[in-house]
């Protein structure tokens, strides 16, 4: 689904000037970072664990086509119906088909970033089908017609006063309260009726185990278990990279996920689903569907460097530790996945010409790489995206929309630079001219992009004589 072109500079400016947003975010991100550090206090053990996580994800990706076929085979044997979708539109149609076959109109959803990527709620809404988010954070932002600003804590940009007002205005008969426990109780009451009445449950997948055909879900609230147990039909949507080879791969990834995301040893619930309701069983869905979404992932996979992107287990630690994200929040990025993971993934999914600016939302400080539980070389991938933004190429693995930033003026400048450096007399002439102009160039022209930046910065003046000339004068042999 192509989205409206995002005005990044405007978004960034607005976010930076929103003091409430910055206070909400800063407090939350510092807390999450600290909780992670507390849990992973033993740094040697953490390094071993990260190496293991990296190896497991890499091993899974190396065998991706085989594992997807194995997963399909195992799931089918277990009674789970597997569907493949190349695009979000196809995935949405698959979900709609299942929902319509069951004449369902009440859909309850557990948290799923892939469903956000599909804009499933919006799509179903257009078909007159209510898809209700049941994770508390997702419920809050759905009430306010917003999208998640963080992949783990989607409503983190709001504080309790804002949520108190929202509940009071949008939920019939809800009293105004700023007590967090009371706000939770209001949501519990509303959603419990929805769990009771839900006709189809939709969830994401944290890991899918090829060996056994098992779908794993990680959560604290119990809404995920409700959505996957109470309604007669369960649809799980997942990006096709989420498959792992063996059941024994799950415990290390689970520890990395919960520890990196929220500093928890384990979440309240770890839910492993291997089949629909079996004969004699009294509850659980009669039908379980698994929708495997590509949406550009196979293209990313084809390139050995970009493939690293697909190791991601969606913990959000890179966001919590990013100096850019912690000042902007997720909405300024304008796409579903914000922060370093979003900056890395989104331009590859949507094309550099649409989302290439996101690759610029990094200082290259490397904090994201340091905390990444599966050791994704995030800055290397971002660097590649920035390079490809300027590169026109026929390479088959080039990122969609490459070369969008290339301009005539810029390419002439670099051609001139190359010519100058390859032509000794021209280089000497330029060095001399710059030396003469040096004192006058130290002040940056305060226009355009340089206006603010140039106010407090000066260029180092060009030397009157180049290093080449100085060396020659000292009698150093010119090789």
């Amino acid at each position: 689904m192509t989205e409206a072109v995002v005005d990044f500079p405007k978004n960034f400016k607005e976010a930076l000037n929103d003091n409430q947003l910055r206070r909400n975010l800063r407090a939350a991100m510092d807390t999450m970072g600290q909780r992670r550090r507390n849990l992973f206090a033993d740094l040697d053990a953490l390094e071993r664990l990260r190496a293991r996580g990296d190896a497991i994800r890499w091993r899974a990706l190396r065998q991706l086509p085989d594992l997807l076929e194995q997963l399909e085979k195992k799931c089918t044997e277990n009674g789970i119906q597997v569907h493949w979708a190349e695009t979000p539109a196809e995935a949405n149609q698959i979900c709609l088909g299942i929902i319509q076959r069951h004449h369902a109109s009440r859909i309850i959803k557990g948290k799923s970033m892939v469903s956000e990527e599909m804009h499933l709620n919006h799509f179903l809404d257009e078909q007159g089908i209510e898809a209700l988010e049941t994770d508390l954070g997702e419920y809050i932002i759905q009430l306010d017609h917003e999208t998640p600003s963080h992949i783990i804590v989607p409503a983190i940009h709001k504080n309790r006063d804002q949520i108190a007002r929202l509940f009071h205005e949008k939920i019939p008969n809800a009293p105004y309260t700023e007590v967090v426990e009371e706000l939770n109780a209001i949501a519990r009451k509303v959603l419990r009726e929805k769990f009771f009445a839900g006709e189809v449950g939709v969830s994401g997948v944290n890991f899918a185990v090829a060996e056994t055909g098992t779908l794993c879900l990680v959560e604290n609230e119990g809404n995920g278990r409700m959505c996957t147990t109470a309604p007669p039909v369960h649809i799980a949507v997942m990006g096709l990279e989420k498959v792992v080879e063996r059941l024994e791969d799950v415990p290390p990834l689970l520890r990395l996920l919960t520890g990196s995301a929220t500093g928890q040893l384990i979440t309240t619930y770890f839910n492993m689903i291997t089949s629909p309701r079996q004969p004699g069983e009294k509850d659980g869905p009669q039908e379980v569907h698994l929708v495997l979404l590509d949406n550009g992932r196979t293209k990313i996979w084809a390139d050995p460097e970009l493939r690293q992107t697909l190791k991601c287990i969606r913990c959000g630690a890179c966001m919590n530790h990013c100096p850019v994200y912690t000042r902007l929040g997720g909405h300024a990025y304008g796409y579903v996945y914000p922060g370093p993971i979003g900056s890395m993934l989104t331009p590859q999914l949507e094309g550099l010409d649409h989302a290439g600016a996101m690759a610029g939302a990094s200082t290259f400080c490397g904090a994201c790489e340091e905390v990444c539980p599966v050791k994704i070389p995030i800055t290397t991938v971002l660097r590649r995206l920035r390079t490809e933004s300027y590169r026109k190429t026929d390479a088959p693995n080039a990122v969609k929309g490459h070369g969008y930033k290339r301009t005539l003026a810029e390419s002439l400048t670099w051609q001139g630079w190359a010519l100058s450096n390859a032509t000794p007399w021209l280089n000497a002439l330029n060095a001399k001219l710059l030396g003469l102009a040096g004192p006058h160039l130290s002040k940056l022209p305060q226009v355009g992009l340089l206006k603010h930046w140039g106010q407090s910065r000066a260029l180092p003046p060009f030397a009157a004589k180049s290093l080449h000339v100085l060396a020659k004068e000292k009698g150093i042999a010119d090789e």
Partner: protein, 220 residues
């Protein structure tokens, strides 16, 4: 749409397999090998930290401990699996002052309303994992999945001998890969959320309270 599978696999198969670099896979956090008493202590400590109420008792006294816990609360009934491992013991020892025992004997379609109205449910457990402090449940026909999820109070009975050092250990020793159940669960406490200002609160959509009765033969 029908071509999606073929197209996706064709794209993946078109890429020459890259040299299977032998990536070393170090052991991850080898869980401490704990003795019997330490495992119980660790489960108790970690689960209490997650706001579960943990009562260490023994096979002769657990029903009495359960009754005490129930009397301390005003509950409208206790949902249980009559054909499950606890069924017979509960039925044989119940009395009139306690909240009535309600069997989960019909398919959910027939009893959903009753199910959602009950205050408490009791289940056995397959075991627990000590390193993270979580119960392992494999719900089945006798003790269905919603039994541990829908009532506001979940009471779980754990045999102390069934505590593993870690999930990895349980998966390997019990050979889970050879046959997974419809649903396997780890549960580390009552349901919780921190979605509003990261303030941790308990009892969102799942049970508000989790009471764990650990049955330990070797208790002195």
């Amino acid at each position: 749409m029908s071509n999606a599978r073929a197209n996706i696999l064709a794209r993946l198969r078109a890429v020459a397999p890259q040299e299977p670099a032998a990536t070393p896979e170090p052991d991850f956090y080898p869980a401490a090998k704990l003795g019997h008493a330490d495992r119980i202590a660790q489960i108790k400590r970690l689960m209490e930290h997650m706001h579960a109420e943990v009562i260490v008792t023994d096979p002769q006294h657990w029903i009495a401990a359960l009754k005490d816990a129930l009397r301390a609360r005003r509950l409208n009934g206790l949902l249980y699996g009559p054909a499950g491992p606890l069924g017979a013991a509960l039925e044989a020892n119940w009395d009139g002052e306690l909240p009535p025992l309600v069997g989960y004997t019909e398919a959910v379609e027939q009893c959903k309303e009753r199910l959602f109205a009950l205050d408490a449910g009791i289940t056995s457990t397959r075991g627990a994992v000590a390193d993270v402090g979580a119960l392992m449940l494999w719900p089945d026909a006798n003790e269905p999945r919603l039994l541990s999820l829908v009532p506001a109070v979940h009471i779980a009975v754990l045999e102390a001998t069934q505590i593993h050092d870690s999930l990895a250990d349980a998966i390997a020793r019990e050979r889970w890969a050879e046959g997974m159940p419809t649903n396997a669960l780890l549960i580390s406490g009552p349901s919780k959320t921190a979605d509003i200002e990261l303030v941790l609160t308990f009892g969102v959509h799942g049970p508000k309270e989790l009471i764990v009765l650990i049955l330990d033969d070797q208790e002195v």
